[in-house]
């Protein structure tokens, strides 16, 4: 406020502006000066000098203080911000809004670190799921929750896309007013302004030519999602003038919606000045089975891997189930990395500790269309090919390269073949195909098949190796998978170990198990009698962990129910 009848030296009133010339402004300033210096040095006008001066000064200051405060008036308004864009989405049902407030209230909680987690659900872990569900229904966030949502998204980058989508246009409006939330503007194309429509070619062109790097990346990605060819054409307009790092990022955006039409452009990029750009172009081309590069790689790889019928009796059969005397694969790795190979993206220099020839072989096989192997190896199916014995210890190298190819080309048949049966002994141990690779291979299968494979794996091998594989399964888990996990947890409990050895899987189960499975867990909530060889106290810890699991599942069911449209329970 500024004083109009009474004021004010700068900084003395909140607004700090003064109306100089008001009758008592001078008197007040004189009092302040006298008070600072002391009445021994300065006596203000109207006060008697000497012993009574301080009291007289205080009396005069009291009158002025009350007068100044009583005379306060509103200040002139500063420039108002543009109002936030309207959010047309429907508002949350009341129960869901209450739930959100609870989930956000728990945000500051620091899970983990303190050992036992007790029986209460970890609300922060449920926030991503809640946000995803709310976004599926298309609700608008209650405005007053936006600061907490933005703070949560600021602390956890994994939460950002869903949190910002839910927070909507008003969050971006807010973010412009608070530097703590600037990330929201960076994470959103065009700093929150809507992306230009396809028809607005001028705006697109201007943003592409003048925008910040992040804006350009977002723009390219957005157009690519809408109209893949248009994105590539836009990129081509400035390609030759972009910096190498930028070229790499832009090229990477073509990964989405990759199509045979992109081949000519990618072929040209194979001649790029930057080695990283060349390698990325080659990788993208090799994911196009009909590309010329893929064909060239197929020829090169084909020359290295052959079916050998003659010498089969000498082959040591690592699978152990082949018949002696059957055909086997022989591998003749390349002896050099020629200029053509380098041009097609093969990296000539092997990393430390790897043989050059096997390094080159791996890259060739990885970039070869998997479909070409069947013709090359006597019309065999992927299963039959993978089952072939491989001479001279090349099996690991060859199978690993096929795995990478299956992932890159998203080939479910080959993935299935390379994964093998989930219950084979080799699946659980360090075979030719690592767990990390299995997880990637699984991701190429459809979700039902994926869940079934992992369920089979858990049934045979237990939970200790399953964490990575569970991570790629669709949420909520399909019934067979959920049952397999619960059974395995039950077995682990009966075996007498402590539940925290399984805390990772337990945490996943809390987030991923289908809430309708909660009833199946009822039998596990009680504290079991302690077996002789059980770890002390393990039973009650398990009961606690299962209680938390059931509690979390019930909570998730409630969350989903609250978000269902048309639900009007609870008070308004």
């Amino acid at each position: 406020m500024t004083g109009s009848s009474a004021n004010s030296q700068a900084g003395s009133s909140p607004a700090g502006s003064s109306s100089v010339g008001s009758p008592s402004a001078g008197a007040w300033e004189e009092l302040v000066t006298a008070a600072l210096l002391g009445t021994e040095r300065r006596t203000p006008a109207g006060c008697p000098p000497g012993r009574q001066a301080p009291v007289a000064l205080l009396g005069a200051a009291a009158v002025e203080t009350v007068r100044r405060r009583a005379g306060l008036r509103p200040a002139r308004a500063a420039t108002r911000p543009e109002p936030a864009a309207a959010d047309p989405r429907p508002s949350l049902p009341p129960a869901a809004a209450r739930r959100l407030a609870l989930l956000l209230a728990d945000r500051a909680g620091t899970p983990g670190g303190s050992g036992r987690r007790g029986t209460a659900p970890d609300l922060m872990e449920l926030l991503p799921q809640w946000l995803a569900a709310a976004n599926t229904h298309g609700y608008a966030a209650p405005p007053q929750t936006l600061p907490a949502l933005l703070d949560a998204a600021r602390g956890r980058t994994d939460l950002r896309p869903a949190a910002l989508a839910f927070a909507g246009p008003r969050a971006l409006w807010l973010a412009r007013l608070n530097t703590d939330w600037r990330f929201a503007l960076r994470s959103t194309p065009g700093g929150g302004a809507a992306l230009p429509g396809v028809e607005e070619s001028d705006r697109i062109r201007r943003l592409w030519q003048e925008g910040l790097f992040a804006e350009r990346v977002s723009l390219l990605a957005a157009i690519r999602a809408r109209e893949p060819a248009a994105a590539r054409e836009l990129l081509e307009t400035t390609w030759s003038t972009e910096r190498a790092e930028d070229r790499l990022m832009f090229l990477d955006s073509l990964r989405m919606g990759l199509h045979a039409e992109d081949e000519p452009f990618l072929e040209r990029a194979l001649a790029d000045r930057s080695r990283n750009v060349r390698a990325t172009a080659a990788e993208l081309l090799s994911a196009l089975p009909d590309s010329a590069l893929a064909a060239r790689m197929a020829v090169r790889a084909g020359a290295c891997v052959a079916l050998d019928h003659t010498n089969s009796t000498d082959v040591t059969n690592s699978g152990g189930d082949g018949t002696k005397g059957g055909p086997a694969l022989v591998v003749e790795a390349p002896h050099e990395c020629d200029a053509g190979m380098e041009r097609d993206g093969v990296v000539a220099k092997a990393p430390a500790g790897r043989g050059e020839r096997s390094w080159w072989l791996g890259q060739l096989v990885e970039a070869t269309p998997l479909g070409s192997w069947s013709a090359r190896l006597g019309g065999r199916t992927p299963e039959e090919i993978v089952a072939l014995p491989v001479a001279d210890d090349w099996q690991g190298e060859l199978h690993a390269a096929w795995c990478r190819a299956a992932v890159r080309q998203r080939d479910a048949d080959w993935s299935r073949a390379l994964l093998g049966g989930p219950s084979t002994p080799e699946a659980g141990g360090p075979g030719a195909v690592s767990l990390a690779e299995r997880a990637k291979l699984l991701a190429t299968l459809d979700s039902a098949e994926r869940a079934e494979w992992v369920a089979g794996f858990i049934a045979t091998h237990g939970l200790s190796e399953a964490f990575q594989l569970l991570g790629v399964c669709a949420v909520p888990w399909a019934p067979p998978l959920g049952r397999a996990v619960v059974d395995a947890l039950n077995i682990a409990r009966d075996a007498g170990s402590y539940p925290w050895s399984f805390s990772g899987v337990m945490g996943l189960a809390e987030r991923c198990l289908d809430p309708s499975e909660a009833g199946r867990l009822d039998g596990l909530l009680a504290i079991p009698d302690e077996g002789e060889d059980a770890s002390p106290g393990a039973g009650s810890y398990w009961a606690e962990a299962f209680q938390r699991l059931v509690g979390t599942l019930r909570l998730r069911a409630a969350m989903a129910e609250e978000l269902a449209p048309g639900r009007s329970a609870g008070n308004a």
């Binding site: 406020m1 030296q9 700068a10 002391g38 205080l58 009583a70 002139r76 109002p83």
Partner: protein
């Protein structure tokens, strides 16, 4: 009243928490997991068994409809009040997902409830029987009051001397003297049994370090302290209302002996201020029929939450009685007739100009007043450099926010709620600026949003 009618929101439940850690712990317990045999009645009793670390679950029961505020009972060993179990139980109930069905209270809960009701009944009967206040000898009480007044007079006289010394040597020396000078003086005022003067003196100590403009603020506060001293020393010459204000500012206990006002009271705001010794909870009420604003104060010793808790945005029917003093808004809560329930009532709002005028007018009755409660109608939060304002929608006038309000996270809830559009804001308006406490979105829909 139906259960739907009294069900609270999670925010309202969490506002009962004595501190941040029990807020957190309570919200973790607000899920079905650890609870069993939970239930509630339409009258506002909620109970449940909560699985703890021991073999026997804790028995938790809350009576929200109690005439003296929510009452809690839990068999856990926590000394916090309410404990996390009580909070968790209320959250579970507030969540409304069927985990707390209606039912009949089990024996252990019923026993406690019956005991409480019986005690309350006895108390009311005793009050009605008209036991004269001031047990003991009225003559002795008068002598005690006289002795205390003498000590206060001695304290006020000493403080006057110290203020005069300060002004004689100059405020500039106060900057060098530092905090110790004021701590010692404050201790003398505690000895003189005048907590009001002691608190004001202690605040003086913080001013020299409070940034640019401190000499002005220090002079203002010294002058008002001087005014209070003089008011006490010459209290016999003051009009009764002002004399009562001086007595309450000095720190003499008054009693809420104003006539009880029965009304539907909307809870406008609830917030705490705390120092090492004491937590003070301030609750602002608005009477829907009388149009009055009343302030309830509730205190908690260190580490304990003040007992009285009322969820913002709900309304209840009750009697309140005001304390003596000119323009005093402080009141005491008397009998409560209903439990807090959601309401559409909002306080009538006013303009920024009128808000500033109200503060000026209130200073006539109480020159030591820092702020008055005001509801601003149709204002827009506007950034102003590093500070913020609340600007009228229809004029070019604005009230600046108090510096403490700019630093408070509630500011961003207010800005988010507004989105650049008008909102209704209740808060405290004074010489430091406006402190927003609660806001409502425009239009009739939309709940109160607590900002403090």
């Amino acid at each position: 009243m139906t259960q739907q009618g009294v069900r609270w929101t999670a925010d309202q439940v969490l506002a009962l928490a004595p501190d941040v850690s029990s807020r957190k712990a309570g919200s973790k317990l607000g899920a079905a997991g650890p609870w069993s045999e939970a239930g509630s009645t339409d009258e506002g009793t909620v109970w449940g068994l909560c699985k703890g670390s021991g073999s026997k679950p804790y028995q938790t029961v809350v009576d929200i409809a109690d005439a003296t505020g929510p009452a809690y009972k839990c068999s856990c060993p926590s000394r916090k009040f309410p404990c996390k179990h009580a909070l968790g139980l209320l959250l579970l109930w507030a969540g409304g997902d069927g985990a707390v069905p209606r039912g009949e209270a089990p024996g252990w809960a019923e026993e406690w409830l019956a005991g409480r009701r019986k005690r309350a009944e006895e108390k009311r009967a005793a009050g009605a029987a008209g036991s004269p206040t001031g047990s003991g000898d009225p003559e002795a009480a008068r002598r005690r009051a006289e002795r205390r007044a003498e000590r206060i007079t001695a304290g006020a006289t000493e403080l006057e001397q110290r203020l005069a010394d300060l002004l004689r040597g100059g405020l500039a020396t106060a900057e060098q003297a530092g905090y110790g000078l004021w701590e010692e003086t404050a201790a003398r005022m505690v000895d003189a049994q005048t907590p009001g003067l002691a608190a004001r003196v202690r605040e003086l100590g913080a001013i020299p370090a409070s940034g640019p403009g401190w000499p002005v603020r220090l002079l203002e506060e010294c002058a008002l302290l001087h005014l209070l001293d003089r008011g006490w020393l010459r209290r016999d010459e003051l009009p009764e209302g002002l004399a009562a204000t001086v007595r309450s500012r000095i720190g003499l206990p008054g009693s809420a002996d104003g006539p009880p006002v029965r009304d539907h009271w909307l809870v406008l705001a609830q917030y705490e201020t705390a120092d090492a010794r004491l937590t003070t909870r301030r609750i602002w009420l608005h009477g829907a029929e009388s149009g009055r604003t009343a302030l309830l104060l509730s205190y908690g010793a260190a580490g304990r939450a003040p007992e009285l808790a009322l969820p913002v945005g709900l309304a209840f029917e009750a009697e309140v009685s005001v304390y003596p003093g000119a323009g005093q808004l402080r009141a005491a809560l008397g009998e409560r007739f209903t439990a807090p329930a959601p309401t559409d009532v909002r306080p009538p709002g006013t303009t920024t100009t009128r808000a500033a005028e109200r503060y000026g007018e209130a200073l006539q009755g109480d020159p030591w007043l820092d702020s008055v409660p005001v509801t601003l109608d149709r204002v827009i939060p506007v950034p102003d450099g590093r500070s913020w304002q609340l600007a009228d929608t229809d004029t070019d006038l604005a009230l600046p926010l108090a510096p403490s309000a700019v630093a408070h996270p509630g500011l961003w809830r207010l800005v988010a709620l507004s989105g650049g559009a008008p909102v209704t804001v209740f808060g405290e308006c004074g010489h430091r600026g406006f402190t927003p406490l609660t806001a409502w979105p425009e239009g009739t829909a939309g709940q109160a949003v607590p900002l403090c």
